[in-house]
Symmetry: C2
Subunit: 249 residues, 2 copies
Amino acid sequence: MQNPLVLKINQLFGSDAALHGLLDFGPSHRVLPHLDIVGDGSEVSHTSLLLGGVACRYRIMGEQRAILGFLVPGDFTNPPFPDHQRLNFGVSALTTCKVMNVSCAHLREVASHTPQLSTALWTLNQMDHAILLSWLAQNSHCPADKRLAHLLCELRARLALVGLADDNSFLLPLTQEDLADALGLSTVHVNRVLQHLRELDIIRSMGRTVSIPDLGQLEAFAGFNPTYLHLRGAVMRLDRMHSTAQMRK
Amino acid sequence: MQNPLVLKINQLFGSDAALHGLLDFGPSHRVLPHLDIVGDGSEVSHTSLLLGGVACRYRIMGEQRAILGFLVPGDFTNPPFPDHQRLNFGVSALTTCKVMNVSCAHLREVASHTPQLSTALWTLNQMDHAILLSWLAQNSHCPADKRLAHLLCELRARLALVGLADDNSFLLPLTQEDLADALGLSTVHVNRVLQHLRELDIIRSMGRTVSIPDLGQLEAFAGFNPTYLHLRGAVMRLDRMHSTAQMRK
DNA sequence: CGATTACTTGACACCGGTCAAAGCCGGTGG
DNA sequence: CCACCGGCTTTGACCGGTGTCAAGTAATCG
């Protein structure tokens, strides 16, 4: 059972044995569903690495919960760079989660000895930012069916990065209510849109398993552009950054 | 005529004479309305500081433009930290803009000599992130009138930081179409919601000037919580970061 | 002063929300 | 092994917020 962050970094930047040992930070603990991993508005000088399960960033707006992002294994709850962040969101476990706390100071210390790790963390942070931008664009400007399809594409791609999905299916332990709170829709409507996607045979879902007859078709329907996740070309980009960094010296 | 970034940093972190000279990076140029300051998808190793005018981050989705954020004087088009970013959005001038390009490498160089500047840039970056989160939450989970009201609160607060707004009014050079593309609404509906807010006497707008009879009432209506902009307490936070940084040594 | 761009208005359609009830499914305990 | 239970999913009827289309009015600029 490998650290999913290591898996992800290797997947994105090419296998790099040097990193394997660096990212074992210590003991992990479990968080049960519906419990907070990080409380809303808390002030922290650490981040938490999700090792297993699915969690979400959220904020309570009036009566209802707004989900602002999903976390899958290999993700950090908050950016690992600055000390003493006051978060303006909470992080809550959606399934049972395995979590490891990482001091930001410690992570910076490790990264300062390993420029590749430092670059990798930066890229992951930009990926996080890109996902947020994409949610904003989709949720504000797309009809419900495209929104939902796009979210499925994104989650599949991110899960695939840590070996939890392939091109044809993956396990998605979210309720329709979770999806609704993320997409800004009602639970009832999410249900109907799911049925609609099934009728079109764009997805086939049984229980928690989503299976995808034709990934290309799904991504086309959603208008999904995987490059924003730095999925392809990330290795090239890392190389270029190193080479230009050397040129400048 | 002062550099609005200096103004903003002083406003947020307290007057700090040491910064005054550091943030003059060189020549600026003008960009006319509707022209790109940075093209979508371009790869840059610099950022651009907006010195005057209003611009937006945007992305074209199908037929229509999605506005993903507004830029006011003192804002950067993209985060100033990493070299060689491939942007997944464009930046376009909404009014005539005065823009100054800043090499990321150079900015890092300057910041490395001035820990206060470095911290300030970090905080500004987190502020940017917080605004994005807030847009996502509002646009996905609020009815049109609250959304619009919230956006007006945010813009007023940000403009006030650089001396371009007070509690009772400010100049907002946006068309209703700009607002619509930002809020994910149709132009027609933005028009109607504006009328509605005027009927409630929550805002009074004449031409491009928005005047606010009672700021408290507007912010209450919008559910606006200014702390997410680091507006209050930012000075304290900066102090705390410095003192804890020293303690660790 | 004409021409273009922005704003305003009304009628109508539709997407998605709400409410309420009924199945389904997995777990728990007798 | 079955009965029960709570959470999740599915349905239907109805309503309201927003979008669309199209036309008309104001404002801005050369």
